[in-house]
Amino acid sequence: MAPMIRFNTPFGGIWIATLLLFLVCLVVAPGAVSRTALISMLPFAAILAITAVGQTLVVQQGGLDLSVPGMISLAALIVTRFPNLDDGLVIPGILLAVLACTVAGLISGLCVSFLSITPLVVTLAMNAFILGFVRWYSGGFPTGAVQSINQWAIGSTLGIPNTMVVAIIIIAVVTLVVKRSVIGRRFEAVGANSFAAQAAGIPVRLYVLGSYTAAGTLYAIAGVLLAAFLKTPSIFLGESYLLPTVAAVVLGGTALTGGVGSVVASAVAALFLTQLGQIVLSIGAPTSAQLLIQAATIAVGMGLRGISFRAVWARLKPPVLSKQDHT
């Protein structure tokens, strides 16, 4: 089977970009790659990566999930508000948060696949709906996370932050399922060409439904980790997560038209974006610069993808007469 990293696929570019970014850091801003800097950056990269994995699954089915902010806020709220500082209710709180977001994802998926409503509209409305719930349930005030879960989230295992461990496990499991299981292989085929998938006897709608549901679960995990890590999450902390997840998917190389994708590449792109933000902050630039740089990254990244390097290469190369049978 194919190796994980190949530079000649659309998913190779982000590895090179990330590598370059860290090399540039070493030269320009060594402070941004010091051990302490990395340890403080990695949990955010991990949480963004988990969210980006969910977004990737939806994008692979030709959709786009704008309910990320609501989902993360909801999970963060439930995991703090439900236990309400009672250590014994942590596990039920986590389960409830995951359940709530999964159900929300399921409903989005039903609207997209069975009611044929545009993903943009469905997830936009779902986001509004969830945010309403968040307002109502929180009463307008944030609750702190339980001590034990916070301790765990800021802790590390074998020198790796626990949030990062969770992210790695999730990426590994999702990759295994997508690339090596019957379901995953069909899932990618549905995304690549839903008409051909239907002709081949695959229940297309179920796979579309599944992508939104699974994404909901992943957002919930990201929200729980974020709340636990931040200790006192603000009510609408998900707001700042929408654009970076889309950026991560796009930079990772998964086509917005759907089909073959790479959650690993999306996760690497999440690392890239988080580190980029760190550098910008470490040289003392304001938030504005950070936004401008993110925007430029997307525009440049997408602009480059629009250019067919193969075509450019073919023009530079001397022509070779090839013998192919014709259509």
Partner: protein, 838 residues
């Protein structure tokens, strides 16, 4: 059978002037010589028929004649004028009109609007007269088509009539009709022939392309037969016989060595396939039985149900009937059920329905049989690799490695990959639609061998093909379809190319007038589909919501509250109108929210207290400049760099937020009090700005319905390719859409400035989502082509009302979000359901 050149004698004198002459025209497509030095003449005052099989080159020849295609070499003359530039509009100016086999119409526009867009300025009716024009011109055809009906709601047959009306309106010197009667009923064919006779009586020319030899005999003066890109002769239509034409049309030798057919087939045992009374959209009551070892062929003129029947067996659009495979009941209610019943389908449209482009050959072949090579849901790579390798070897799929992307293979090897996918799943019934189309000669033979082997192994094999030679060489029995049913069965010795062609060409294929597309909709159904519908629904919702709120809290319906809501609404209103403009072209602008904020920030440096009028003006002009620049930037990213609108404007969204923060890190710059007051001027309790908003919406609605720009906006969003074909300047239209959106967003930003009164860098961001909600509520399609400015204005009012009533109902502000969410989903589901009502 193949001695053709001897009888190709031109029996018509050439005293009449030549209306169109083509000499030594050569046209090649990648890998195919479609026209091999073809010379063709059409005289003034004659009907000249072009006859030939599919792929003989008829449509290519007429494509060159009408300027759609540029020939590799050769000469084209229109009445003495030698064509230098091949371009449809040049040909049109020289009096050439063509009726395409696939009508060039824009689906979301009405009949009248399509006519208005397609006709040149001097022939175009005015907007007011357009409906009358359409009615008058359609009167001749004795059909009732509502000029105000959208093309997508009109039957294909009537679309063809509209296409013909469009071509006739050009008063062409040469009219080219490409398979015009394919969808016509007998009466319409008669009307068409009468009309053709009238045209030629005026000394004009008709080139008539058709499959149907009896029609050609009836209408044409001369007949030219084309085969394999070469002229096989031109004849006097009166004297040439039907069978002479058939001989020339086919006249090919068996150019392929087919695998041997079995000597005898035992048709006494258990059949491996029994179909009884199967019916679906385009076929009725089809029954057939197949026995082990035989290959069944399906033939018929295009559109007579043979393909639909094959797809029906594959699980597409079946309405009833029974299928038994190997003596066991099989369900074909869906493609999933069909696959479970052991049916595998090789679609005709390889790229659209069979290939997973972007995926490897390995993934493409493995797809249907995944479950066979898995344990507990996980793939067993070794087993799968072995199975796929040996299958691809057996079918000799030529690929450097199995990891190659399937798109990089040749057509033949792509097709073999598709067949390999089907065979790997061990199907009991293999369905193949045009298995050798777009495949080179070598691979074609291999595909025949593969299909024969599958039959020998006991699988039932059914092949639909428009190539009679292929059916003769490959099939043991052939069923001929006409009008959705089997009309003839050929078996054993009878399965010859000649018999098949004869049977398909002479089958009585006159269509009966069916109810399809002709029944008049009830008033209620028409109302539901009308563009006004969303507006009425919204007004109803507003009234109910308002009445309920007032019953709970009497201070709701007061002039003061009204006045406030309407003023607040203006910002959202303008932004939503801008968003609609872009959505009409099937784009989207997510950056409108932050852009309105940027307008405030830019203005906050100039529009201050105690500054001169000049400074105020500079503030307005600079902020407008910033907005227009953003619009241009979006346009460049989307149309220039071809970045998807969502992503492009998402980048702009972030960039503008950054820019606003860069200009003002914290809120600052108090807006000039007089300007704020002036922007909030009220006439009675009615804010002036609201009246301007309403006037803008009405004006834009007028532009959308009654100007070329408006029609173009909807046309490019509905079907960009067809819009270009009928002469819409697409790039200019997209440019205007993004600029109008930017300008309207600027208006919204100015109203936002009056509301918040300070340069706040985070202002306006929420307007993106609120604007989209308003547009969706207003009934606009997110796929482009449809929407109404008035509807969107009402949508914006409802959104603002929701924010307002929650406070009067003393609901928690969570209700704002819930109501918004429920309304958006509800509206989208409702409207998408309405569009599906036919």
């Amino acid at each position: 059978m193949n001695q053709n050149s001897e009888i190709s004698v031109d029996r018509v004198g050439t005293e009449a002037p030549v209306a169109m002459r083509m000499r030594d025209v050569v046209k090649t497509f990648p890998g195919v010589r479609a026209l091999k030095s073809v010379s063709f003449e059409a005289l003034a005052g004659e009907v000249h028929a072009l006859v030939g099989e599919n792929g003989a080159g008829k449509s290519t020849l007429m494509g060159v004649a009408s300027g759609d295609l540029v020939p590799d070499s050769g000469l084209v003359e229109y009445g003495g004028f030698a064509v230098r530039e091949f371009n449809p509009s040049v040909s049109r100016d020289h009096g050439i009109a063509i009726v395409h086999q696939h009508p060039a119409l824009v689906p979301d526009l009405t009949v009248s609007e399509n006519i208005l867009l397609a006709l040149p300025t001097d022939l175009r009716p005015t907007y007011r007269d357009a409906d009358e024009w359409v009615r008058t011109h359609l009167q001749y055809w004795q059909v009732e088509i509502d000029p105000g009906e959208r093309i997508e709601d009109i039957s294909l047959a009537n679309q063809h009539l509209i296409e013909i009306v469009k071509a006739l309106a050009l008063n062409p010197k040469v009219l080219i009709l490409d398979e015009p009667t394919e969808h016509m009923v007998a009466e319409e064919v008669q009307l068409l022939f009468d009309r053709i006779r009238k045209i030629i009586a005026e000394g004009r020319t008709v080139v008539y392309i058709s499959h149907r030899i009896h029609e050609v005999k009836a209408v044409a003066d001369r007949v030219t037969v084309l085969r394999d890109g070469e002229i096989r002769g031109t004849f006097d239509a009166e004297t040439v016989t039907e069978s002479e034409i058939v001989n020339l049309v086919v006249g090919r030798q068996l150019d392929a060595a087919f695998p041997p057919k079995p000597e005898t087939i035992d048709r006494t045992g258990t059949p491996n396939l029994e179909v009884a009374g199967l019916k679906g959209g385009a076929f009725v009551d089809v029954s057939l039985t197949a026995y082990p070892g035989e290959i069944i062929g399906l033939a018929g003129i295009e559109g007579n149900g043979q393909r639909a029947f094959l797809r029906g067996l594959a699980g597409f659009d079946v309405e009833g009937g029974h299928v038994r495979i190997g003596g066991k009941d099989a369900r074909v209610t869906s493609t999933v059920e069909a696959r479970k019943s052991g049916i595998a389908y090789i679609p005709r449209e390889r790229h659209a329905e069979a290939l997973f482009s972007g995926m490897s050959v390995f993934d493409n072949i493995g797809l249907m049989a995944l479950g066979r090579h898995a344990k507990g849901g996980l793939m067993q790579p070794k087993r799968e690799t072995e199975a796929i390798s040996s299958m691809s070897r057996a079918l000799s799929v030529k690929t450097p490695t199995l990891e190659m992307q399937v798109n990089s293979l040749s057509g033949g090897n792509q097709q073999k990959s598709v067949i390999a996918r089907c065979l790997l799943d061990e199907p009991a019934l293999l369905l193949a639609d045009e298995p050798s189309q777009g495949v080179d000669a070598g691979a074609r033979l291999e595909i025949y061998r593969i299909l024969r082997k599958a039959a020998t192994e006991g699988r039932a094999v059914i092949v639909a093909s428009s190539d009679a030679i292929e059916l003769q060489g490959l099939c043991d029995r052939v069923f001929i379809f006409s009008r959705g049913s089997i009309v003839k069965e050929l078996a054993g010795e009878e399965v010859t190319e000649r018999n098949i062609t004869q049977a398909t060409l002479t089958a009585t294929t006159e269509r009966a007038r069916t109810g399809e597309g002709r029944q008049r909709r009830t008033l209620w159904q028409r109302a539901l589909k009308s563009d006004l519908m969303p507006g009425l629904v919204l007004i109803f919702a507003m009234v109910v919501l308002g009445a309920y709120t007032n019953s709970v809290n009497e201070s709701y319906l007061t002039g003061r509250n009204f006045s406030n809501v309407l003023l607040l609404l203006t910002a959202l209103g303008f932004i939503a109108l801008g968003q609609l403009t872009v959505l009409l072209t099937a784009g989207i602008d997510l950056a409108v929210g932050p852009l309105s904020g940027l307008v405030v920030v830019v203005a906050s440096f100039f529009v201050l207290d105690d500054v001169g009028t000049g400074m105020l003006l500079i503030g307005f002009i600079l902020s407008l400049g910033a907005a227009l620049l953003t619009g241009f930037f979006n346009y460049t990213l989307i149309r220039g760099l071809l970045i998807t609108p969502v992503i492009a404007t998402l980048a702009t969204y972030m960039g503008i937020r950054g820019l606003s923060l860069l200009l003002r890190e914290v809120p600052g710059g108090l807006i000039n009090y007089d300007v704020t007051e002036w922007l909030s001027t009220r006439v009675g309790f009615m804010p002036l700005a609201f009246l301007v908003l309403v006037a803008t919406a009405l004006f834009m609605e007028f532009v959308l319905r009654r100007t070329r720009l408006g029609l173009s906006l909807r046309a490019v969003g509905s079907d960009e390719a067809n819009a270009r074909k009928i002469g819409v300047k697409t790039e200019r239209t997209f440019f205007f859409a993004y600029m109008i959106c930017a300008a309207l967003t600027w208006c919204g930003g100015i109203m936002l400035m009056a509301q918040i009164g300070v340069g706040d860098p985070t202002a306006g961001v929420t307007y993106t989502l609120m604007g989209i909600t308003a547009v969706v509520l207003g009934g606009a399609s997110l796929f482009g082509g449809r929407g109404s400015y008035v509807g969107v204005l009402l949508g914006a009012i409802l959104v603002q009302q929701i924010f307002n009533v929650t406070t009067f109902l003393r609901l928690t502000d969570a209700w704002q979000f819930w109501l918004l969410g429920i309304l958006t989903i509800g509206a989208a589901a409702f409207y998408s359901h309405l569009r599906r009502i036919r």
